[in-house]
């Protein structure tokens, strides 16, 4: 790599020749304020907060200005400070500044910037435009354009990373707005509810559809038996909301807090992940042995499912018919568990705590029910659970040794790795190997499935049956699209594909704690949180789904066979073809 010499505020540094001034400043340990910039995702120089003096006629945006040999940069002159202040005051002048009631109060990048730049008054009036309508028709995502500062991070995420591209910049001047085409609601377009746009929004313009009130209501109702289940990835991130380092595994503290919140039972969605593996593994084997539709594609990620329904309807028969783990769990709780405990299933209220916003939409799908009762009654995100814990005044960080409740409390390491890209594949192989080969896979660590390469492809050799199982894993919908195009054209001949809609998998889901650009620009959240997941797998006594005693008992006492009749009724589902674009004006 060729290096060039640059000077930043008198500090001489050598930086790679293709750096921007912002990157060079980081090497020189000089802090430049930014707002629209998000490393690798949004590098478009839109907001002008990062202006610096590079000796040109006018101030330049450091986040896009390339360095050159001998460049001399000033980042802190009166002219620069004044320019930044004016820019920020103008942004604030048309921003809906009700910080106290905002979901992003204290986690807002605009708020911190205003504080850092010592803004104590706003000299501009703002526009007289009317309040723009709130879009809260989606089951998962709420858009408040009055808070939007037009940084376009969400547009880049939705368009370039996820290739969903349902939001963009519309109109011009004062009327500029980030929204779906034709002022549609997100609920009317091909939005897949992944929530990745929320995680990159610096302000409160995007958030999840809140369900905390519904959960408090249920907890206060003495007639209800309120059960909570937590997805694998929640424990790997919730600690961040309480000041713990990124990547802390906070399982015990989380369980303790849930008990203090008053849930009647605290269960682990990992248990249902083990159940999913039994069903999906069996489905895979049936399809291989009976010449069924291949590749089989995983169905745990509801963002991926909706993406497939809109963009690849011809591949719907390739999707596993398995419901996602938390839906399966809901169905089992309102049938087997209700029966076992002698509780009227209509009095059971199931709350899922998920790293995911798309699970909210999923739980509302009409197919997701058991004998007319919804499988899951409320879905809250990791962030929403943190809000409840704070609201209740529970000390999350207090040392505790709480465990998930019986009688559904067992889970294996295979269940927990569902939270990271490659995990469902790895868990499925651990069990499929056993089902096909009649013996256990010795080394359960399938490292080819792990890591952050966009698409991972590998083959597993099964010595006894002579099968060479071809597998592929994609995370992030842009990668999924590439992979599906290969499948559609017949270029690829995999047996089994895992897709997770969010980059890095559920650990980086749209419902996880939001980290500001200042953190995201330096730390790969996906990798750090995945470490916590693999740590829990390593620490588990049982690491294969079929070894889970709760699941073994469930089949023996109730379900009979995987993919049997009861399973078909309770644990499997179907999909619908959806239009890519709305058809009515």
């Amino acid at each position: 790599m060729n290096m060039v010499n640059v000077t930043i505020d008198g500090i001489k540094v050598q930086v790679p020749e293709n750096s921007t001034v912002l990157e060079a400043a980081r090497i020189a340990k000089v802090d430049i304020p930014t707002l629209c910039y998000l490393k690798d995702i949004n590098e478009i120089g839109a907001c002008r907060m990062c202006v610096v003096d590079v000796g040109a006629r006018s101030l330049q945006a450091a986040c896009v200005y390339p360095v050159s040999e001998g460049l001399n940069v000033k980042t802190n002159t009166k002219e620069i400070r004044d320019a930044r202040r004016i820019t920020l005051e103008l942004i604030l002048s048309s921003h809906d500044r009700n910080c106290l009631q905002c979901v992003r109060n204290k986690s807002c990048e605009l708020q911190s910037l205003a504080d850092n730049l010592n803004i104590r008054e706003i000299r501009y009036m703002g526009t007289e435009e009317k309040k723009k309508p709130l879009d809260d028709f989606s089951a998962s995502i709420v858009r408040d354009p009055n808070k939007c500062i037009l940084c376009r991070r969400c547009v880049s995420m939705c368009k370039n990373v996820q290739t969903v591209a349902v939001i963009d910049t519309m109109e011009r001047g004062y009327k500029t707005i980030v929204s779906p085409a034709f002022e549609k609601s997100l609920s009317e377009v091909a939005c897949v509810n992944c929530g990745q746009c929320i995680n990159v929004c610096p302000v409160g313009a995007l958030s999840e559809k809140g369900e905390v009130a519904k959960v408090w209501e249920a907890l206060a109702n003495p007639d209800l038996h309120v059960i909570v289940q937590t997805a694998p990835a929640v424990r790997a991130a919730i600690g961040e909301e309480f000041g713990l380092p990124i990547g802390t595994r906070a399982t015990k503290n989380m369980v303790a807090s849930l008990k203090k919140l008053g849930f009647d039972k605290v269960f682990d969605t990992n248990t249902a992940a083990d159940l999913t593996i039994m069903e999906e593994g069996t489905e895979l084997i049936h399809r291989i042995q009976e010449g069924g539709k291949l590749p089989l594609i995983t169905s745990c990620s509801p963002g991926w499912i909706k993406f497939c329904e809109h963009n690849f309807p011809e591949l719907l028969d390739n999707l596993s018919t398995c419901k996602s783990p938390h839906q399966m769990f809901g169905a089992i709780l309102k049938s087997y568990y209700a029966d076992k405990m002698g509780i009227d299933p209509s009095k059971i209220f199931v709350v899922s705590v998920m790293p995911c916003t798309a699970k909210k939409f999923e739980s509302e799908r009409p197919e997701m029910n058991v004998n007319g009762l919804k499988d899951v009654d409320a879905v809250i995100t990791t962030r929403e659970l943190a809000t409840m814990i704070k609201e209740a005044g529970i000390n999350f960080n207090e040392v505790s040794d709480e465990h998930f409740d019986d009688p559904m409390g067992d889970a294996t390491g295979a269940g927990v790795i569902f939270g990271a890209t490659g995990g469902v594949m790895e868990a499925a192989i651990r069990t499929a190997y056993r089902l096909l080969e009649g013996e256990e896979l010795e080394d359960v660590n399938i490292c080819e499935a792990r890591g952050l390469d966009g698409i991972k492809e590998f083959t597993v050799k099964l010595p006894n049956t002579g099968i060479e199982l071809k597998a592929a894993v994609a995370h992030g919908l842009g990668n999924a699209r590439k992979l599906m195009e290969k499948v559609r054209s017949g270029e690829a001949d995999y047996h089994f594909i895992e897709v997770m809609a969010c980059p890095g998998g559920c650990v980086n889901g749209g419902g996880q704690p939001i980290q500001p650009a200042s953190v995201r620009n330096c730390i790969d959240l996906r990798a750090e949180r995945a470490k916590a997941i693999y740590e829990e797998d390593e620490a588990s006594v049982l690491r294969r789904s079929h070894e889970n005693p709760t699941i073994q008992k469930l089949y023996a006492e109730f379900l009979g066979q995987p993919c049997g009749e009861k399973s078909h009724h309770l644990l499997h589902t179907h999909y619908v073809k959806r239009d890519l674009y709305p058809t009515e004006d």
Binding site: K159, A165, V166, I167, D168, T169, M170, E171, R172, P180, A181, F182, V189, L580, Y581, P582, T583, E584, D585
Partner: protein, 164 residues
Amino acid sequence: MSKCGCTCSDAKEKQLQEIIEKYKNTEGALIPVLHEAQEVYGYLPLSVQSKIAEGLNVPLAEVYGVVTFYTQFSLYPKGAYKIQVCLGTACYVKGAALVLNELQKELGIEVGKCTEDGKFSLDACRCIGACGLAPVIMINDDVYGRLKPEDVKGIIQKYKDMTE
């Protein structure tokens, strides 16, 4: 349904497909395609934009973003009488906004829209170079200058009478 009562929509659709086909593999094709499509349809409704999005493999949200960015594109059909209100600096200073408000009231439509009967459409435009006559409006090719809000009613009535 088209106002003329004929079934020309198939013919238009065929033309649209030809336009898309012509530009399909050209870079930066979106704006010329939108132009030609607007010539065919007179405006760019959802159905037309969706076909362009699909045909050029550009997301609909991006197409709509471009359509709403440039004032020459219209989302709504134009009326038999196209009213343009100049909002250039001179006209603005001389009270063009008041004239525009009066027009909206008189016609019962917002800027950019067309009356239900298809007679009048109302748009704001940039300076048309008649600053000496500010504030100015144009109705098709006729220019009206030095307007006061109270002149609006009479002018509109004149066009209403002409069609009856």
